[in-house]
């Protein structure tokens, strides 16, 4: 058996062992069809598709949605930080002294507002992704609160 076919077999055998009880019959059906697919790469594609189908049935789709929401939020925050870093690089004086509010707006306010608006839009049709974005918004807010509290304690002490 080629390594590609072995991987395909392992994927579906894993689903057979780890899938929900009601999805085991389907995992077994997909696993057995593998023996009738002659091309190894076609067998692997079959197994990958089957694994996605089983995971989707077992709640994996929800987890993937939440992770996608977190990933989008992380990219947005990284983009905001990147924009701030660029602005600071090119206009250090303006950013530091003239527009301190702009820093907070770019790094915290804007991403938070975007997370909340996008989560509101996604809530009806893509709830797991919306939950991922809201989780990120909560994490960012908590981070800012802790940062400010630490900063204030340092200055008062």
């Amino acid at each position: 058996m080629s390594p590609v076919r072995r991987l395909a077999t392992r994927l579906l055998s894993g689903m057979l062992r780890g899938g929900s009880p009601e999805s085991r019959e389907w995992a077994s059906a997909m696993r057995r069809e593998l023996d009738f697919i002659e091309n190894d790469w076609a067998a692997l594609l079959w197994a990958v598709g089957g694994t996605t189908a089983i995971l989707g049935r077992s709640g994996g789709k929800k987890i993937a949605g939440v992770l996608a929401g977190i990933a989008i939020a992380t990219l947005l925050t990284a983009g905001a930080f990147g924009a701030f870093a660029l602005a600071f690089h090119f206009f250090p004086h303006s950013v530091e002294h003239s527009m301190p509010w702009a820093v907070w707006l770019a790094v915290v306010g804007l991403p938070l507002a975007i997370f909340i608006v996008v989560a509101r839009i996604l809530w009806r049709n893509r709830r797991p992704m919306a939950v991922g974005m809201l989780l990120s918004a909560s994490a960012l807010t908590a981070h800012v609160v802790v940062h400010m509290a630490t900063h204030m304690a340092k200055h008062s002490g």
């Binding site: 999805s23 019959e25 389907w26 077994s28 059906a29 997909m30 057995r32 069809e33 023996d35 009738f36 697919i37 594609l45 079959w46 197994a47 990958v48 598709g49 089957g50 996605t52 189908a53 089983i54 989707g56 049935r57």
Partner: protein
């Protein structure tokens, strides 16, 4: 729960309607419909959940594993026919005067 009749679901129903009495194997059915396993199996699972599809295991030939088989139940056939008619009518060529084919 209402069955979501996506384009792919309709394709699956139509493929079953072509030979309604025959049991279909997963891989061959995937090739007939042109659907990948990741698209086809969730549809088959939903149809089976709603009792529109019946499944069975064939008796294993010597040295060959048993295979899962599928065909529409009477309810599934009814749903498939209900949804295939308007589509075929919509696809019927129109005459120069706007009428459908007889």
């Amino acid at each position: 729960m209402e069955l979501r009749l996506s384009r792919q679901t309709l394709l699956v129903l139509e493929a079953f309607l072509a030979h309604p009495e025959d049991w279909k194997y997963g891989y061959e059915f995937s090739r007939t419909t042109g659907l990948k396993s990741g698209t086809m199996y969730p549809i088959l699972m939903r149809l089976a959940e709603r009792k529109l599809l019946e499944t069975s295991w064939d008796t294993a030939e010597l040295g060959r594993p048993a295979r899962h088989l599928y065909r529409l139940t009477p309810d599934g056939l009814r749903v498939a026919r209900e949804h295939s008619q308007p589509r075929s009518m919509a696809r019927a060529p129109r005459t120069a005067f706007g009428g459908g084919e007889a």
